[in-house]
Structure formats: structure tokens, C-alpha cells
Subunit: 498 residues, 2 copies
């Protein structure tokens, strides 16, 4: 019945129910699961675990690629299943449990998870649960719409549960390029020198004897709701396009720019949509999550090739793309996140990284993760992997949030994810600050003049002037540096006077 | 007369005085100079520029490898010569000018300087001043005791002034390995896969027509005073050695550990001295500045090979090593800082990075640069290049400074150079906190229990407990987070009660 999808016949007797397979997972185990950007996630086993947790104590350490879709992280958190969770999440219920201190969340650079398992910093998974579109004649696993950490998790775990998702388009097979760096001390260079190169295998080459269970499911991929572009995201896109045009005119960038990396989310997606109306062509993406905008750019004839580690689409876009996958197939590749996000490759290719900031400060330090300096939003994700090694590290955000109660440009960020050493360009709807080659006081000038919202400009200007009177390479008034955050906490608005 | 040292005869007529050569440097120029860790720096031209500045307006943008020796940076700053300075410095007079806002200091990751010139982020040097031990038959430049950025600065500049230092040991020739990454988009992997490999050329292959001047000098290399190990540095070394021994016993590290990178300065140097009495052998260094401890480890039979980008020694050690260079020559290589510090190579080799923190916080964020959050000390140097891509990122510091008025462990650092995502191990004389795989609240527990000085433990514990009551992934009290720094500023001690 499943011979097309499970092409190694000896594995057919491993087919079982999700409940039976979930029974392989024991209390205290470290479990690896597929899933990145809510795509290609294990879907049946998490639900079966939630059911099991009702009857007996069951707490696991969960390692994935990145976020899971379908509210699975929240359901597992509510069921008390998650003792430790890494390296990323994006679920409101899990977020609440993390901020309450009920789940230990280890917020990691996405390229480093597997490296940390190899080095023994975090435990080797006992068992891996991997969504597949097929199992090959050799018993190798063909992932679905993400690779994430699936390949290494499956290779490292003692046992593997495969969720064979019949709902996934069989044309996904052939899209993946699995390359795993050698163990040290014999590690060789990652041979990737062009965005469109393939350096690995189309399936995860595990020993089929490790496949302990195959669970058949037919669950559609999660749709990722995407806010439409608005005036402010369009303004951000326009500032950025103007900057790129000037860079090309000055000869600093080629006509097709450089490989682009674009962070997850509505703002970055909207910015990329802006490129449809630009003059650039033959663009390439060397990114993490491929979103709606990637396919819009393909359709507009702007994009030549896209390399990512997951495809995460809105409902409309997903229906269209997966129904017509053949059209895009030879211009797409999905890699393990260790490769899609690898510092070695990002630096070699000279990517342009465009990521979303929660807030940034006077000197260009960026907070990507912590609301009010303390409460986790999602996680750093790949933003550090890319920003640190990008040719151009760009952060975008709207200049204010919550109807103006929050300024995204503050005297000092409450939490630093990206330091001023690593941030080249900041863009809000107000304008673009080009910080390249500037000392901190000059960075502050560029940020005040270009990025801050008019309602906050005078206050920031005043802070900066008084800080400069005190002196220093990076002038600050320590007694006031976090006062905007404190005002927000205590009075609901960053400026006392409202 | 200098035929052994200037082996391309056609260059002999370029010999001139330092004053004549310095006249090639014009007001407003961007000047590249050799020098890294006070080694291999241009010595005559900076002094000639200081003299010239007395007579006429002369302000330059100065790019070096890292710090210059002999107080040159301070002399140039005092003469008002420096408009902009990058990427690192270590001079008290220049520091004062930077913190006063008189010199714009761009504090950069040392591996990225040349990349930023290539990408047009910072200006291409008009002229480069490079100290050499010889000029070859082809007119290529053989650097002295550092490579730093010398190769790329010389290759990129329109004109080159060579300072031929007759005081340098001719045996330095052959020690260097110059490899320059290709321009993008055709860049290839850096082929280095072993610490002791050579992948380049022994000299800087510039067009000899660019050599506009050769200045003969005979100035001894700067000695780098090194504080002797004390009880506290010995305790830090002991904690670290105990940790390494446990890692080897558990199989996570090999018996010869992994290539070590060791930051500049007395504490890191003393920690390395501690390895002399350890059980490890066949160690390797893949580091930046090779200090006294490297040669002590060679002499003790502990070290097999050392790769760096400069040799910076104390007076005693320098006399001994340079007099007997042949003894070490086949176990040493000096590379451009772009290669010695390259993220690609650091990640591939899986280095253990040991750097000194100015302070770190409850959650393991590290400040390497800014006293009181505002005043520049030296610069981030290579610490970010290594920390971010290390297999093990370790920071060491004494738990208190200034007779106990300053705790090196604080609720929140006043400036972040290395985020908690990148810091694995923290060590003070009090003990070692192993932060691998821990969530922020667990990191705080490990740091309070192991690193903080007893005089500050109760206060930090109290802060943490009250912060946890407020909740969050990274609990903080925004109104108090920087209060220790503020107390120090206002009352001279981090704790109000003294």
C-alpha cells in the first residue's frame, strides 16, 4: 500500500500507530524532532505524547530545528511534557511557561545546536522523530518541507521514529541536499562556494535498523499567517532599495547585489516583497526560512535561486506553490541548518543579512529576543549566525510599537543579542542609518537623525547630549539608561510625560 | 651595504630618511601601518609624523593590525595626528583622547578589518608603512615579528613605505605564511585544516614599483611587561586545568585538548603558565599573540606547534627567544590576522578560546572593553572572532578589582561584547562555572555558586531572588540592574554599604 513511499520493503512491519510509537519515548529522555519555522515538523507523535502525559509522569528534553507549527509546542508545554526546550520556539503558551521559569529554554544560535551535541555540551538525543515524504530503497529518510536539524538528529539518535506524511507532495524528494561536516580533528572545508551548488545527498543516510517505528499520517502543512505590507513596511523597503541602488551605483555591490538572507516574519517578508518593484534581477537567497516573498520574487522574475532550510508559507501561497512545485524545483535547495546558517559559508559568500529587531539603541546594539529586557519572545534563531558574518548586517523594525507607547530606538537596549561591532545598517520607516566605519558617537548621530520616531527624537537627543558631557567612547548615563523601559513597565509608556 | 636585506637592487635608490618618507603622507590620508600587539610595528615614520605635525596641520585615519608599541599611539594622539583610529589600541594617552571624543575610535573584530576595506565600509589606505626584516629578490616584503594586517594593507595601498629594521633577527624570514582570501563572488574555502599547515607564501607579494620609500632603522622590538603569576591567577589556572582533566576523562576532549587560543595580558598568560605543571602534552596553539607562556610551554615540552599573527614578549623572554630563534622556528608560523582569527578556521579546528573579561553578569554576558559601561579600555580585539566560533569559549578574570571596590561579577554588565549565547565557561579564583546547555536561570545559579567573591555573593543572590519573583527568561530588576556601576561611580564602591 505504501510501497511508493516506503521503498525498503523490510521496513513495512515497522508501521504502527502514533500511540504505539510514542510509547518508545520514556520519561527523562532527550528527544530530537524535525521541524523548522513550523514546517516539516513531527505532527502525530507530539499529540500522542500529550495524551500519554495525562496518565503517567513524562518529562522530556526537546531539541528541534526551530519552531514547531500547529500549536504543538504549546500543547506539550501545557501538558507539562517539556523539562528543557532548545534551540528556538514561537508559541504563546510555551512562551508563557518559559517566562514563568517552568520550562528551561536554551536559546541558541541555530547553526550550533548539532555542534554542541557533538562536543557533548548538550545531550545526544535518545530518539529522533522525523517527518518524511518517503523512505528510499536503502532505508534513507527523505524529509518534507524542512531539513533543520533532522539529518543530524536522526544520525545521532539510537532510535528513529518516522512520521510518513502522505499529505506532502512527493516532488519534495530531490529538493534536499544533506551535507554533514566531518568530526574534528579531521574536519574539511565545507565545499559550498555558490548558492546553487549541491554538496550532499538527497536523503538522510541512516542505518535502517535504527528505524523503530513508522507512523503514517496525512496532515497538511501548517500555514504561516503573514501580515500584508503596510505603509510603514513599504517605507522600510523603499529606504532599503534606495540604499542598495546607491551601493550598486558606487560599485560596492554588483547589480544582483549579493546572496540575501531574510529573517522570518511579516516585516522582513514585506521588505522582500518591496524588491518586486525594484530594478534588481538575478537575485539569490542564501537564507533560512523561505517565505511567501521568495516565491513572489520567483514569479516576478527577480530571483534566480533560493537556498534555505525550510519552506514556510501562508495558506494561499502554500496551496499554490506545493501544487506547482515542479515549476520551482530546479531553482530551490533545502539544506541542514548547520549549513544554511554556517558562519564559514555566510562569510565566504558575503551575504546581506536582513533581520528584524525588537529594539535597538543609540549605538546600534540590537535586542532580538527579550521584551522589557527580561521576557523571552521567540529566541535569537539564526539572526546571530548571519549577522556576525554578513557582508552587510541589516536590521529593520518600525520605529514605534503599541500605538507609540514603545519606541524601538532606546538609549540602551534591555538585552543585547547583537553588539554594535556586528550591526551595519538600521532601518525604520523614518529612514536608514548607515553605521559602517563609524565610531559610537557618530553611530548615535546617524541613528537619531534617521531612525527614531519624531515623538521620541528630542528625548533621545537630550539623553545623548547629556551623556556626551560625561564623556566616554560610548557615552551613557547609567542612572537613566534603562529608564525608558522602566517607565513602560510602571506607567505603560516609555516617556513619563506620555 | 644592505644587499642582504634589500635583495632587489633596483630598490636601493628608494632609501631615504624617515622625515623624507613621512612627507609622502598628506593631511586627510588613510594610512595603514604594520603592528600587532606592539610587535612588528612601524617605528620611525610615526615619530617623523609627530615632528611634522608640529609645523603644519596633519590629521590622518590610521588603520593597523592592532596595538602599537613604544607609546607611538599616545605620541600621535597627543600631536593631534589621529582623526580616526581602528581597529584596536592599548595606549593610555590615546585612550584618554578616545574617551574625550577627540579621536574617533572604531573598535572592530580583528578578522574583519580587511574584509571591511574590500567591501568599501572603511576607506582603502592611501599609503602603507610596513616594518620588514628584508625585501626579497622579487621586491616582496618579509615582515618582522607580526603579520597582522600588513599584507593586505600593503597590497591595497597605492604606495608603500618599508621600514627595514636591521635590529630584527634575519631568521624571522621563513616564519610567515601569507594567504589572502580571494575576492567574492569567487572566494574559495580557506584550505587550512591543521594548525601546523602552511597555505601561503613567506613574503608579501606586492608590486615593487609601489615601494615609494625605504627607511633604514635599527630599533629594538618593544618589550611587553608581564605581571608574574600570583595566587589568584594560579587558582584560576588550577580550576581550568581541573576542568580540562575532567573533560579528557569523560572523553569530551582528547588528551592534547584542542587547539588553544589565548588572549593577550597577564592573567591569560599566567593561566597558560599553569599548564606547564599539567599532565597535557602535544598541545597546539591557534592563537593571535604568542606571549611568553607559549615559549615556556615549548621549553617544558608541553607544546607541539604554535600558530599566531604576532610574537609579543617580555624583555627577558624576547632576548632569549630571538637569540635562539632557530630552536623554535620549525614549530612556529605567523599568519595574517584575517587567517589567524578567521571564523571559518576557528570553527573548523574547534579551538578552545581563553580570553580575559573586564566583567561578566549573572547570565554570562561579558564586557571586554568598557569601564563603567562608557569608557574604552583597549578594544574587543580578537576575543569576538574566537569566542563566537570556539568549541569552548572560556573567560577568566579575578572576582574583584581595586581592593574589592569592584566586583567583576555584576547583575547586568554595563556594556556587552559577548552575549550569553556565546559564553561557555567562566572562571575566577573562586571557581569555575560550566554554563554549557544551561538556561539563563541555571547559568545564574552556577555563576553565583562558583564565581562571585564572597563579599558580593549575598547581594547578587538577593538581586537574583527578587528578579526571579518578577519572572522572565532572563530575570532582571531594571531599576537596579546597573546600580552597582552607579554606586561605584558615585561612591567609589559597588555596594552602598561598602
Amino acid at each position: 500500500m505504501y510501497s511508493e513511499r516506503i521503498r525498503l520493503a523490510s521496513l513495512h512491519d515497522r508501521i504502527m500507530s502514533a500511540a504505539q510509537a510514542a510509547a518508545l519515548i520514556e520519561d527523562g529522555m532527550t528527544v530530537g524532532m524535525s521541524g523548522f519555522g513550523g514546517a516539516g515538523d513531527a505532527k502525530a507523535i507530539p499529540l500522542a505524547l500529550v495524551e500519554r502525559a495525562e496518565g503517567a509522569p513524562l518529562r522530556i528534553n526537546l531539541i528541534t530545528g526551530a519552531s514547531l507549527g500547529r500549536g504543538l509546542d504549546g500543547l506539550m508545554a501545557e501538558a507539562g511534557l517539556l523539562a528543557r526546550r532548545m534551540p528556538f520556539q514561537g508559541d504563546p503558551l510555551l512562551r508563557r511557561a518559559i517566562n514563568a521559569g517552568d520550562v528551561m529554554f536554551i536559546d541558541q544560535h541555530l547553526s550550533e545546536v548539532v555542534e554542541q551535541i557533538r562536543d557533548g555540551h548538550i545531550p545526544t538525543p535518545d530518539i529522533a522523530v522525523i517527518e518524511a515524504v518517503a523512505i528510499t530503497e536503502q532505508g534513507h529518510i527523505v524529509p518534507t518541507s524542512s531539513v533543520g536539524n533532522s539529518a543530524s538528529l536522526a544520525l545521532m539518535a539510537r532510535q528513529v521514529i518516522v512520521e510518513l506524511n502522505l499529505g506532502c507532495n512527493p516532488l519534495l524528494e530531490g529538493l534536499h541536499d544533506i551535507h554533514i561536516p566531518e568530526d574534528r580533528p579531521d574536519r574539511q572545508p565545507i565545499p559550498l562556494v555558490r548558492v546553487d551548488e549541491r554538496i550532499g545527498t538527497p536523503a538522510i543516510e541512516i542505518d535502517p535498523a535504527k528505524i523503530a517505528a513508522i507512523v503514517i499520517c496525512d496532515t497538511p502543512e501548517t500555514a504561516y499567517p503573514m501580515l500584508p505590507p503596510d505603509n510603514e513596511t513599504q517605507a522600510i523597503a523603499n529606504h532599503l532599495i534606495g540604499f542598495f541602488e546607491r551601493e550598486v551605483a558606487s560599485g560596492r555591490l554588483a547589480g544582483n547585489l549579493a546572496p540575501l538572507q531574510v529573517g522570518v516574519g511579516s516585516i522582513a517578508n514585506a521588505v522582500m516583497h518591496g524588491l518586486i518593484e525594484s530594478s534588481f534581477s538575478d537575485l539569490t537567497l542564501y537564507s533560512e526560512v523561505l517565505q511567501d516573498s521568495a516565491f513572489a520574487l520567483f514569479d516576478a522574475g527577480r530571483l534566480g535561486f533560493a537556498s534555505g532550510c525550510s519552506i514556510t508559507l501562508s495558506e494561499d501561497c502554500g496551496r499554490r506553490v506545493f501544487a506547482d512545485l515542479g515549476k520551482y524545483r530546479d531553482r530551490l535547495v533545502l539544506r541542514p541548518q548547520e549549513i544554511s546558517n554556517h558562519p564559514e559559508v555566510a562569510r565566504r559568500l558575503g551575504i546581506i543579512g536582513i533581520n528584524t529587531a525588537l529594539e535597538f539603541d543609540l549605538y546600534g546594539n540590537v535586542n532580538s529576543t527579550h521584551v522589557g529586557g527580561t521576557r523571552m519572545m521567540n529566541g535569537i534563531g539564526g539572526s546571530g549566525d548571519f549577522t556576525r558574518n554578513a557582508r552587510l548586517a541589516i536590521f529593520v523594525t518600525k520605529s514605534v510599537a503599541k500605538d507609540g507607547a514603545i519606541s524601538s530606538v532606546v538609549p540602551m537596549v534591555g538585552h543585547v543579542d547583537h553588539t554594535e561591532h556586528d550591526v551595519d545598517i538600521l532601518v525604520t520607516e523614518q529612514g536608514l542609518a548607515d553605521l559602517r566605519g563609524l565610531a559610537p558617537r557618530e553611530r548615535a548621530r546617524a541613528i537619531i537623525d534617521n531612525c527614531v520616531h519624531p515623538d521620541y527624537r528630542a528625548a533621545l537627543e537630550d539623553y545623548f547630549a547629556r551623556a556626551c558631557e560625561r564623556g566616554g567612547q560610548t557615552p551613557h548615563l547609567l542612572g537613566e539608561a534603562l529608564s525608558w523601559h522602566l517607565n513602560l513597565e510602571e506607567r505603560g509608556h516609555m516617556l513619563k510625560a506620555g
